[in-house]
Amino acid sequence: MTSPNRPRSFQEIILRLQAYWAEQGCAVLQPYDMEVGAGTFHPATTLRSLGGKSWAAAYVQPSRRPTDGRYGENPNRLQHYYQYQVIIKPSPANLQDLYLGSLRAIGLDPLVHDVRFVEDDWESPTLGAWGLGWEVWCDGMEVSQFTYFQQVGGHDCRPVSGELTYGLERLAMYVLGVEHVMDMPFNDPGAPIPLTYGDIFRQTEQEYSRWNFDQADTDMLFQHFKDAEAECARILAAEPVDGAGRTIPMAHPAYDQAIKASHIFNLLDARGVISVTERQAYIGRVRALAKACADLFVTTEAAQA
């Protein structure tokens, strides 16, 4: 943290990661325009990790976890936060070295810090996905998740994708030496209008915490869940040939509905209206949607080698 190479703001860390992964040849994508719980849900990861076609992408993904809301008071917990996601298929042999290069790029020198790969197998019950890998520790703190995808949407990944996920706020707080997320400089502290993370997100954290926990209309959400589920099934069942005789299966629009159902489930969970036993059933329903979307996607052009 004493390195002269040290970034000065949250956004500088993001910009350096963008530049670094662009230099490594990744397509730098923009966030997916839907509410998701993690960067993995972006179709650039979930769907593109399926099938034989090579792929390399990096992007920031705003992520929402309604149950983690703490009205902006907890120094480390947010219901809305950012993940940085890198996905490369097939996983290159030097992926660990590439990753370590990204740490150097944001000012974490592995010769001064203690960087460790500690076993952590990843599983997403809602996506029917799992992989093996590690959580990466820097001086005892988890700074990234590193996973070799083995299965997604119930399909074996061939070839295997390597996925890197950085929890940006936590990583940045460490690099910048900040104790409370709301105190973190978002833009350069020397800018004419310096803005902290709190300037931008404290009020939204409060508002969403209240809505997530107390106000969201659960009857409406239950209905939305059913609607998304039904629409997903309908899209998947649609005849692949359209009225003009073109063959256009619609894996992505169907997957959007699966994402929607997943987020609505998270909201209902935060409202405390889903019992322990029902929980498993809801997760199973979302997984069924994700699997069905994956089944369709692997038949499409984007999945062919």
Binding site: M1, H113, V115, R116, C138, D139
Partner: protein, 774 residues
Amino acid sequence: MPDLLIELFSEEIPARMQARAREDLRKLVTDGLVDAGLTYASAGAFSTPRRLTLTVEGLTANSPTTREERKGPRTDAPDAALEGFLRSTGLTRDQLQARDDKKGQVWFAVIERAGRPASEIVAEVLDATIRNFPWPKSMRWGAGSLRWVRPLHSILCLLSDEAGATVVPLAVEGITAGNSTRGHRFLSPDAFTVTGFDDYAAKLRRAHVILDSAEREAAIRQQAENLAFARGWQIVPDDGLLSEVAGLVEWPVPLMGVIEDRFLDLPPEVLQTSMKEHQKFFSAKNPKTGRIEGFVTVANIETPDDGATILAGNQRVLAARLSDAAFFWENDLREAKAGMQAWAEGLKSVTFHNKLGSQADRVARIAALAREIAPLVGADANQAEQAAKLAKLDLRSAMVGEFPELQGTMGRYYALAAGEPDAVADAARDHYSPLGPSDAVPTAPVSVAVALADKIDTLTGFWAIDEKPTGSKDPYALRRAALGVIRLEMENLVRASLGSVAVKQYMQTLRFLQKENRYIFLKDTNSNNTLTQFFSITCLFSTDTRFSVNSERVDSDSPVFVCRNKREPNSDSANSLQITSNLEGYYEVLEELPSPNDLAADLLSFLHDRLKVYLRDQGIRHDIIDAVLAQPGNDDLVLVVNRATALNAMLQTDDGKNLIQGLKRAGNILAQAEEKDGVEYSFGADPKFAENDQERALFAALDTAEPAIKAAIAAEDFPAAMTAIAALRAPIDAFFDTVQVNTDNQIVRRNRLNLLHRIRAAGQQIADFTKVEG
């Protein structure tokens, strides 16, 4: 004699898998070499996070040449037979030899297998080992199909002797074996070549890798203790953590940190658990204060600032973790001091099992049972009930939510904060025990009452819903619960009739099996009111928890019915009935549950099976336990064990062993006669029909033994009962030596059979001797 060196270099291997992987590598490779005809002097396996290494010394350079002769078909046999023989031997016809045999001329194949060089065999064995390695979990990577625990990067495979070292030619899925490896990921990342194991280990050490995990463990332990000693502290020993940490580093550098003052008031268990689980830190205790005041983290690197940045980072992460813990602790304490009502309320929304209700329901059952059991274990009933009600409240605390392994431990702190007496607080901590065969058993009466109630309720509950362990499946750890009951009773000499306890607890459980529109009916002994052709019921549980069934009135031999309320009678169903007493309406039977007595008997037989396992470890055979289980009071495990122990001791003596034979012989003769004659010989043996001294002596011996046995049994003095019956050995032996039971004189025969009955009856007071083997 060459030496073999193998290194499989990969991305980071999970620490928990390394020890097993070392052993698997050693065994798979050496077994493979030996199977292929090589021998070796010694082998050793090593692991670091990034490598598995095997060294085999004194390997033979070649496998021996072997010669095998196989007899084939006769030379005049049909072509098909010869072709088959050629196929199976892999030879051609001109390679066969024709030899004269007894039956004529026969083809012989002489198959010589030349010895093979070690390198060829090593290549094959290592290839197979890599492809079939039994990792608990393995994965693919990139575009390849090879599986390894994490991506495998390089293979070092070297045979070396006086002449030098040679790489074994081998390639697995594009990875070609070589003679080079790499050192520490950051400190010595460059590749280097090696010529043999000693060179390898020495160069690795220069490249900041300690190959041997035992050496890393010793280094960590030593340096951690030195660091602690310098401050006058002591490291809290934790072998599991030590071996895990040694599997996370190649170049261990322990660093000592101090816990900030603001966290020192946290319970030591919280500090230790948080540091261990989240950070893999060792705890350092200050013996002067008895508190945990420091920690040791083990880095994998030496840095120019001597670890200052690393320690500062770890300290910062720890502070964040402990801030959370302190926040939980303070909130929890506040709730505890306020009486924990919110937690009790919260337990209602935590499902224990969807058929057995919530944790709150479960706590209510355990509390009722703890109250019942309290007098049997010398505990105050109010305290036992109170302890049971408090014991699981910590499940709702934030701290246990974060660290489930602190359940009970926190319960004790919170009970004390709530102003409960020590006995109640200790029970909150200890009621989960014993968790395994070597775990300590609680001895404080209140703890024993709650611990027993907890386990008996669990058993009865799962028995009621027919979720018993089968084969290797025991998802609710019911065998462990049963062993817990046994150990609690045995080690505290608890005298309880488990049968009636189980019946009562079953009734308790049934009350909670009721749900909306789902009613439980039991048969009332006083009722003659037959409502259907199937059963008559007037007794039922109310959903009102104040109403409890009068168990005295329940017919415990009749099954329990789960019924659904219906507005109208279902004319098609004979199972539809009208209940006229407490609840109006018509009911349809959904399910039939076992009668209270059947459930208790089945549960008891499960406990008896576990008891046999428990006693086997103490040297008492299962047949001896079977022999005493036929006696009354077999649901009192202490009584069963006392009987079995006394019987076992007697059977170790000569008198005992011979007595068994005599008793069995008496029993057999009697049983045969009874079967043949169709009568039971049970009384009226009269000494006046005795024909010799031995017979008269047996009468006399029985006259003495019978009351002695009876008195001893009544006093539960089983050793005395054994002594009394053992005294019959000589008279019985003498009787059978000199007297023929089945004599022609029917009066004498009948008298003797009746005498045998007295022997059998005397034995039956003590045990069912027919069950004793041998």
